[in-house]
């Protein structure tokens, strides 16, 4: 019953139990229990699938105590490597262990968090680094999850993965933790909770960062060209043309390469025109895609190599002074303005953002913590999730240059120095109107992205015309949307 209350506050009109209707089978998920048991009808146990039933210990069960020997072994390992490396590989505690899969540590911020966690709970942190290459990370996670690896406890999870793995039933629902520890979900950016961390009414991931795409620009270039910030797309073309100077300086950097970057670009442009990446055949989407192509073919305010530029190469270009404007994830802004070799005073963020035909929104995404449903250390994992959700702990994100997921932290001037984008983000949500819109994530989002990118890219490189590209893309996308639409 209390679950219905939580689901109401998340504004999802769901009941206590619902059935998915799949092509040929029906399974039912009873979510009225605080710790749902998910059983697949007719699940095979022929040794092919190592799936265990999702089971969680009752609340209040004592932590399993590890022997001192295991703790000492972990400590010894840490010491032998610690003598050569500053990176934290483990903190040892006497209350058990938790395996955390996270990015490589920046500026020791993770080390601080892990040590504080162990100091408070006595649970040791075994830290494994996630490969920064998305494909490899994906392969690693999928393999371990599909095989029901009990050794993986908490991992760093993005928008796409939370719905994908959540729908597969491999993630532990986090609603009980929210409820038990009274985590204030309304402090988080709402769309990050409801749209990209939740699937079918269950919260699978607690965001730790809030990463909007911001339009940042070179203030010195704008001054030099004597132009003001554009208010809409038409003004933008004029401004960008004024800023463009042959092939040494372009008005805007566009990341048109496939493998994720083009998809993000399509989404944020199409969204401003009332479309979306999974609705490419709408007028808004088509208008946006045409506009995008025009930027580098007709107006020439972006380089002709746009279809092969990704975040790395455009970053390089921006550092080289090649671009006046870049509409990209906030973390790039932080990387530029907090590093001494970059410029603090020459780069700024457009607030308010320029508007498309329909709105002035921009995309927001996040990464956060998800718990492996097969983990053998769920209690410790839950403690970790709760611990990291605290505002004072979340602040450590700023050491990394990321904005924290809690909006109440954005206005803190002390931390705006570490993550300069915060001041702009705080401005953007002033007055309650948030320009942040999450990407339309469903479990099939990867397939949708691939289909969209493939075809739009073919259009951008003059291989097909727009209507063919859109038609081919939607042919693949429509069945996926049907398959994963919420009942």
């Amino acid at each position: 019953m209390h679950y219905a209350a939580i689901s109401d506050s998340l504004s999802r009109p769901k009941g206590d139990a619902y059935a998915y209707k799949l092509r040929r089978r029906t399974i039912s998920v009873d979510r009225s229990a605080p710790t749902p048991d998910v059983r697949l009808a007719g699940e095979r146990t022929n040794g092919m699938s190592k799936r265990q039933e999702l089971r969680t210990p009752r609340n209040g069960a004592p932590f399993s105590r590890r022997s001192l020997l295991a703790g000492a072994a972990a400590g010894a390992t840490a010491l032998s490597l610690g003598s050569r490396s500053r990176r934290v590989s483990a903190t040892q505690g006497s209350n058990g262990e938790v395996n955390v899969l996270y990015l490589a540590d920046q500026h020791d911020h993770f080390k601080t968090v892990a040590e504080a966690f162990t100091a408070e709970t006595g649970i040791g942190v075994k830290y494994e680094t996630l490969p920064s290459d998305y494909l490899s990370g994906q392969q690693l996670l999928t393999t371990r999850l599909v095989a029901g690896d009990t050794d993986l406890d908490v991992f760093w999870c993005d928008d796409f993965q939370s719905s994908m793995y959540g729908a597969a039933g491999w993630l532990e629902p986090l609603d009980p933790i929210v409820e038990e520890f009274g985590i204030q979900l309304d402090d988080y950016v709402p769309t990050l909770i409801t749209d990209v961390s939740t699937w079918d009414g269950a919260l699978y991931r607690l965001p730790w960062t809030a990463e909007p795409e911001l339009i940042f620009y070179r203030t010195d270039y704008f001054e030099e060209a004597g132009v003001e910030l554009p208010a809409n797309w038409d003004e933008f073309v004029t401004v960008a043309t004024a800023l463009t100077n042959g092939s040494d300086r372009y008005g805007i950097g566009l990341c048109g390469q496939k493998a994720g970057t083009l998809g993000n670009e399509i989404q944020h442009w199409a969204n401003q025109a009332g479309g979306a990446i999974n609705a490419l055949d709408t007028e808004g989407s088509k208008q946006a895609i045409t506009f995008y192509k025009d930027l580098f073919t007709t107006h020439k305010v972006a380089p002709p190599s746009t279809p092969q530029e990704d975040y790395n190469t455009v970053l390089q270009g921006f550092l080289d002074g090649k671009y006046a404007v870049w509409w990209v994830w906030d973390v790039f802004f932080a990387a530029m303005t907090t590093d001494e070799t970059f410029w603090k005073d020459q780069v700024s963020v457009m607030v308010p953002q320029m508007a498309g035909p329909q709105n002035a929104e921009t995309s927001i995404g996040c990464w956060g913590w998800a718990i492996n449903g097969f983990s053998g250390r769920k209690d410790q994992a839950k403690q970790w999730v709760e611990f990291t959700s605290r505002p004072e702990i979340m602040k450590h994100q700023m050491l990394r240059g990321n904005a924290p997921a809690r909006t109440s932290l954005w206005a803190d001037p002390e931390y705006q120095e570490r993550a300069p984008q915060l001041s702009f983000m705080a401005q953007m949500i002033e007055g309650g109107e948030s320009p942040f819109r999450a990407r339309p994530v469903t479990p099939g989002i990867q397939e949708i992205y691939d289909a969209a990118e493939q075809n739009v890219h073919a259009f951008l490189t003059d291989q097909v015309d727009l209507d063919t590209a859109v038609a081919q893309a939607m042919e693949k996308i429509r069945p996926i949307l049907e398959r994963y639409s919420a009942d």
């Binding site: 998915y20 799949l22 092509r23 040929r24 089978r25 399974i27 697949l40 699940e43 095979r44 092919m48 699938s49 290459d133 494909l135 994906q138 392969q139 999928t142 393999t143 599909v146 994908m164 729908a167 597969a168 039933g169 491999w170 390469q257 496939k258 493998a259 380089p303 002709p304 190599s305 746009t306 279809p307 092969q308 530029e309 790395n312 190469t313 390089q316 270009g317 080289d320 090649k322 479990p443 099939g444 990867q446 397939e447 691939d450 493939q454 075809n455 890219h457 073919a458 951008l460 490189t461 291989q463 097909v464 081919q472 398959r483």
Partner: protein, 315 residues
Amino acid sequence: MSGSNSTFAADQTASRTVSRSHHRATARRLLLAYALVAPVVLWRLATSVYPFGYTAYLSFFDHNPMRRSHEYIGLDNYRTMINDPDVRNTITFTIFFTVVSVTLQVVLGLGIAQLLNQQFSLRGFVRAVNLLPWAMSAIVIGTAANWIFNYDYGLINDLIWRVSGFRPLWLTDVTNARFAVALTDVWKNTPLLAIIFLGGLQGIPAELSHAAKIDGAGRFRAFLSITIPQLMPLIISMAIFTAVYRVLTFDIVYALTAGGPGTATSLMSYLIYLQAFRVLNFGYASALAMGLFGMVLVVGVVGFMLLRRSWAKLD
């Protein structure tokens, strides 16, 4: 055969005695032979039987954890595969890429091996340098290649620009992208073939290589008619393995173009990765893997037959 009949019986007894010990020797030889191959065979079986069985089995199912499905659908996956436009898009390029890359690698590899077989100072150094492209990790080369073909900051465009003032677009044009991908692949992998062929050149018997030491135009013909047939088993073996590897991997190509522009450089092996790890469609991914397996099996069997013929020619 002796012509005398009187010794026939004696011959019979003698031959029976000979054949009994011959049998024992043969049995021992066979036992030895099997014992020698056993480690390799068992080791390999241990790590490939289960994956093969698993994949083949799963290819007949619709197994997708995201959709919570796991049911037997017979040949449906295979039917989908044949009608899948993505498969059709990639199959041409996969074949084209394999044929072009393998041919270039074999030809260049032979040339380089011959070059490195000559006597000259710094030969050791050049041989070690030769192996470097192949000896570097694929992720490094993939990222490096991405930069090398970059429009503004790439090595290739910089050199071309210094000479002609022009910067071509490498990865946004279909033909250029395919060329870039093939070039990178050949650059990275030819050293392996070169060093194998070099090893093979060492094994050519003296009297045959003396014959190759002819002046003038005869040398090239000698190379073709003497050296090549000697190396043929190696050439065929390497061609087979190189072709199989081309069909089954996508990392370098993907790092360079992500399969673009559009789908111009998309490989079938990437589809398997996509279906398995990004879409969790394990049943279909397994069917794709089996399909790919069928393709390379043909290559392997044909190659093997050619190999046996080349062995026969050696003897």
